[in-house]
Structures are given as C-alpha cells and as structure tokens.
Amino acid sequence: MKFRSLYVVAATLALTAVSMQQSQAVEYDLTVDRVAIDIDGETTYGIGYNGASPGPVLRFREGEDAVIRVTNNLDETTSIHWHGLILPYRMDGVPTISFDGIAPGETFTYRFPVRQNGTYWFHSHSGFQEPDGAYGSIVIEPESREPFRFDREHVIILKDKHPHSGDRIMRNLKMSADYYNRKQQTLGDLFSDFRDKGIEATVADRKAWGDMRMVPTDIEDVQGFKGLINGKTPAQNWTGLFNPGERVRLRFINASAMTYFDVRIPGLEMLVVQADGNNVQPVRVDEFRIAVAETYDVIIQPKEDRAYAIMAESMGRSGYAAATLAPRDGMKADTPAPRTKTPLLTMADMGMDHGDMPGMDHSKMQGMNKGVDHSTMKGMDHSKMQKMDHSSMKGMDHSKMQGMSNKADDPFYATGSGLVPAAENGGRFLSYADLKAQKPRYKLRPANREIELRLTGNMERYVWSINGVKYEDADPIRLQYGERVRITFINETMMSHPMHLHGMWSILDNGNGKWNPVKHTVNVNPGTTVSFETEVDEPGQWAFHCHLSYHAAAGMFRKVIVEGGPKSASTSTIN
C-alpha cells in the first residue's frame, strides 16, 4: 500500500510537472499610450506601447502560452494584431473581424499558444495608429536547434515616420492623390529626355502616360517620411554591438506604413536564413528588398574591428534609414550617400494591357496565365512569349528606357519593369525566386481550387480595391476548413502591394515545388501575376489585405471566413 501511495504521489507530481510545462505561460503587460517621438530633436506625438514607440521586443519560446494584457490608455478604441502569428482567430486582434477592439480604459487579455518560431512583429489594427507609431517586435525561440549558428542577435525594425498623422495623410491623399509625390517628372526632365532620347520618342512617351493620366514616378505615394531603425533616425544612429569574427543574426522587420526598403551593409555579405519567420535554405546576398510587413533574418560575420553601416533606402529613393554595427559603443559608421536616381515605372509595370497597346493580352501570354504550374516554369524564356513584341509598343523605345538593362528574367517583376532592383555593389540582390524552404511545413498536394484576385485601384481618386470592389462593398471570401486553396493575384495597378493573409500561412509559389517558401506577406509587383497556396487549417474569420496602410484603408482589404472545422478550436480561448 505504501508503495502504491508513493506511486500515486509520484505520478501526481509528474503529471503536475507535465501540465505545468504545458501551460507554462509567458506574460506581458502592455499599455497603449500617447507618446512623444523625438525626430532629430523635434518632438512629434504619436501612439506607442509602454510609453515608447517602437514598443518593446516581446520574447517567447515555441511551445509556451502567451498571455498579453493590453491596457488602452487612449481616448479611442485600439487593438493589437500579432503579425504572422498562427493563433485562434479571437486572438488575432482585428476589430469587427476577430473581436470588438479594446475600448478606452479597458484591459484585454490575449491568450494563445505559441506554435511557431522566428521573427515577427505586432501593431495596432485600428485606424492609423500603426503609421502613428503603434508597433513593436516579436522574437520566438525555437523548441529545437536551428539549422544555422550565430553568436548574438539584434532586432532591426524599420519604420517610415511621417510628420503628418495618418488621418491627415489619408485626407490629403483623397484631396489630391499626388499630395506626397515630390518625385514627379519636371520640365527639366523633359528637356533632358529630349536630349537623351530625342524629341519624338520623348513626346510619344509623355503622351502615352498622359493619355492614361498616370505617371512613371508613382512608386511611393507617401513621401516625406524619416526612415527609422529601432526608432532612431540616421542622425540618432542606433548602434548594435558585435565582437569582430562573431556571427551576428539580424532580424529585419519592415514595420513601415508605406515604404519598401532596399537593405545593404556595405562591406559585408548577408546570409539570408529566414523569411517571414520561416527558415529558408541560406542565400548569400549583397542586398535585399523588404516589402512592408515582411521580415528577413540574415547572418553577417563582420571580421574587422570597425563600424559598419546598415543602409536601408526606400525603393523609390525618397528616404532612407541608417544605423551602425560597431565593436564598441559611440562609434558611427560612414553612411554611404543615398542613391538619388529615382527608378521609373515602364509600360511593363502597367500590366501592358492598359491603353491601346495592341497584342498585350496578359491572359494569353504563355506561362503567365492563371493556373499555370510555376514549378515547371524553370528558365522561362520571356523572349519567346507570344504577343510580347515590345518593339511594336506605341511610343515605347525600350532600348532607351531607364532600368531596362537590368536582368529581366526575374518572374516576380514584369519583363521590362522599371522596378527590378540592382545591388549597389553590383553583387547579388535577393529575389523571391531564391527563397527555398529549409524544411517543407506542409505536404505538397494540389490545391483543390483557385481564387483569382485582381489588385485594382484608381490612383487619381485614391481608391484601392480587389476585383474592382472596395472592402465596404465586398462580400467576404469563403474558404472551407481542410481545403488547400490557390490564391492568384493579378496586379493591374502600377504599385507594388504586400498582401497579408491573417491566421494561415501563405505558401508562395516561386517554382520550387515542395520547397516553396512559407510566408505571411506576399509582395506583388506591378504588372505581375503571383500565386500562393494556403492550407486552410484555422477556423474563424480573418483579415486579408494590402499592408500599405492607406491602400488597406482605401479598400484593398477583404474578410476571409473559414467555414467548418473544429469549432472548439476557435472559441476555446474567448475570454
């Protein structure tokens, strides 16, 4: 009997230990506050967490439960969305879709199991609080060993801080859509084009754009921001330390409202090891472009005892963020002069079926039509595409177009796109096509159906939409629990859109089959068609939208309803 009771005690203890382990929770308290933000000595006001913008770095370990109490000290409703986290939808933090929002004075407790690892971030999903400063980072340690080694790490969170509030920016854009575009072609550009391209070609080019009432400089529709790294301007110089020879992991997060950054560390190669929190087969690059809301983890190995600059220039070259990596505090790296040459969109970025260009029907292009299996597109020869005779495009002297000399074989850019980036040092620039999953997250299986979403908009009216319909007028997208759906974006606008599906992973089809990388944000460049697949494995209601704040607010947004599935899974954690 004694033995038996001992056994019971031991078993109880063991069970308690196991259950303790299972329910071990990491708790955080966050307050949402009006905060002062110091921009080079000038104080602006915005919204932050625990009294600061950016908010803190929240650290978790895979397998733990997260308990985050959020107290709203604002006089308006707030919310926090855990960007990229897979969780019960009631915890996703999108007012009117997942919950009611957090009323002024109220404390809301988010509680969810942490089922993934990597670099993520969080931000408000209410109004324009996120552009106004309500953002922070999340680092999740893996349960098991990572397939790469590093000695220390830094979170590098990028932001475009604008002197105007989000509300004011939106209103100004609605009044005149080019309010913040100060990179438009001028009379001087006209004369230099006369000189460089000839009057006839220039006039034809201007006429083509003028007929469409569009401009080739509409790359960044909100300019005039200050680029921040970890909340610091280039002058305020955030500094991360390293010992020469160490392998340093940099967790890049683009928490911008509107800005894509081209990131490089002059003098160092970067080894990309994660994209959107998922391990990828390491790729050595000299520079990479990070779309709004994406994350990339890179490993660098600075060997010299000197400061290195992290240089993050906006895609349209209207602003930049910079910081220092140094062996000691107080050092400042020489920041390279920002590149001033603004890229120009080309007719290729217009989707090529606009206006009256003959023979440019996208749906008929070989290898570009819907349902195509990208995995078989290896070495797709663009020059052989039917009906793609560029030379016959009215008024388009391609040979003289800027940016036309760049490699045009990246399927994630339209052939002849003016947006194809090139590394400043002539080296390797990361492409989506380079991303291969380290380990497939899901079994490869064919999608049971495809949903085509055209990314649409009216630049002049600053209206953005999907399939021509704004969010307020749109029906939700309905998915069935357990299915595998292929989502195909056809970008009919002249801007890049970082499309973010909440709650479920986006398996980007970049032609690598079962090694296709798994992401939470899929960038779609102008004039391109991009597909991803999703395993519909989370019941509930989810947001699905362009992550450019003002595009989302103007209507490029959808509600996704996952029908069926274990109801308990979605409701068990409702408070």
Binding site: G127, H164, M170, R171, N172, K174, M175, S176, Y179, R182, K183, Q184, Q185, T186, L187, G188, K207, G210, D211, R213, G224, N458, E460, R461, V463, K470, E472, A553
Partner: protein
C-alpha cells in the same frame, strides 16, 4: 421665392438628405472625407489702376461615391470698396468615369447688380494629358442658359515651383441684360501663375498675370455701363489647401 427657385431648393434638399444618409452609414467605416482649398486668393492690380481682391475656392464633404461641394468665387473692388462679383455654388457630385465627376445643384449670384439663382449641371475631372477640366451649364431663374469651361494645366519647373496656365470661357445662349451677359461667347479669362509650395501643398504663394476680355454683346453691355472690355492684371496671391 419663385417656383423655379423652390423646385431647385427642393431638389437640393432631397439630394442632401440622400448624402446625409450615405454619410451616416459610411461614417461607421470612417470613409467620409472633407477638404478645403483656395485655388486663388489674390490681389490684382489692373493696367487702368484697378485694385481688386479676387478669390476662387471650394470645400467638400462626402464619400468616394457622393460629395457635397461648395464652390465660391468673388471680386472685391478695393478702390471703390464694393463687391464686383459674388458667386456661390452648392452642388452634389458623383463619379461617372474613372476621371470625371458629374455635379448638379444651385448657383447663387449676389453682386452689386441683380441677384440671380441658377440651376447647375456640370462635369469636373482630369482630361487626358493632365488637363484639369471644370465645365458647367447654367439655367437662370429667368430661363437664360449659359455655360462656362475652366481648364488648367500644371507645369512642374521643379516639384515645388509650379507654373499654372489657366483659361476660362463663358458662353451664353440668350441675352441677360440685367446681368450684363449677351448671347454668344461672352468672356474669357486667361491666367499664368507661378507658385511655390512653401508648406507642403498647404500654402503656396504665387505671382502671375491675368488677362480678361469681354466679347460681342457682353462687351457692348459693358461699354454701355462705361466698364472696361478688356483688362490686364498683375496678380500676387496665395493658394491654400487644408
């Protein structure tokens, strides 16, 4: 109020009610916008010693689908200290194409001459090659029909220094002797303004030159009143946008 005015007022009130209800439902989604701009707010010095204060502005509130817009312009004679022209339009506008809105409403003129109420329908938008167009048809309470076409173009010398040529044409179908307008092409105004965006696009001071001319019967009416048929002005002013 005559019956014409009453009809138009009623139509406007109905439309306003429609707008308010749209606004109410859209408001929950935060999609009501408003804005104000003074395209011209300027001092004009004429070649015959005229000194005028001239303004032309508009304000709107509404959604992407329906806006209520006020458009007001006027002319104050600083020499004689009296209003030369005062025109206010209240219109509802809604998109009819990617780049154009149709608008309809009321125009009320109350210069130092006789007051006039007009019904207005018009088109406003951006034509090919970036011409900003505003075209209106007016029918006055007396039954006189007229039209006006405004066109404007911006030449970017830099992204802040902007040269803006503009032209306005007035055409009338019938004579309105009291209002001083005769049938046919009645008047034109062409302007050239050089502005600089000092504070964002909020405040842009400018200098420029404006030429006005009356034609045909309208010119005749002006001569009868001892008014100038054509004038050239040097202008200095501010463009405002909030």
């Amino acid at each position: 109020m005559n019956s014409f005015t009453r009809t138009i007022t009623l139509a406007c009130a109905t439309a306003l009610a429609a707008l308010t209800s749209t606004t109410a439902s859209a408001q929950s989604k935060g999609l009501v916008y408003y804005g104000f701009q003074m395209e011209e707010l300027e001092y004009r010095a004429g070649d015959e010693g005229e000194k005028l204060l001239v303004w032309d502005g508009d304000a709107f509130i509404g959604t992407d689908e329906l806006k209520l817009r006020w458009l007001g312009s006027g002319e104050q004679d600083l020499g004689e200290g009296k209003l030369g022209k005062l025109e206010n339009r209240l219109v509802l506008q809604t998109p009819v194409s990617d780049f154009f809105d149709i608008k309809g409403g009321l125009r009320y003129d109350s210069p130092d001459g006789p007051n006039r109420v007009y019904g207005v329908v018009g088109l406003a938008g951006l034509a090919k090659q970036w011409f900003e167009i505003d075209a209106d048809l007016f029918v006055s309470e007396k039954g006189d029909a007229s039209a006006r076409l405004d066109a404007e173009y911006e030449v970017l010398l830099t992204n802040w220094l902007i040269l803006t040529p503009s032209a306005t044409f007035g055409i009338a179908a019938t004579d309105d002797r009291e209002a001083g307008v005769g049938a046919g092409l009645s008047d034109i105004e062409v302007g050239l303004r050089l502005s600089y965006d000092v504070v964002d696009r909020m405040i842009s001071p400018y200098v420029g030159i404006v030429y006005e001319r009356k034609f045909g019967k309208t010119a005749g009416f002006a001569r009868d009143e001892d008014e100038a048929v054509d004038s050239t002005f040097a202008v200095v002013g501010l463009r405002l946008q909030f």
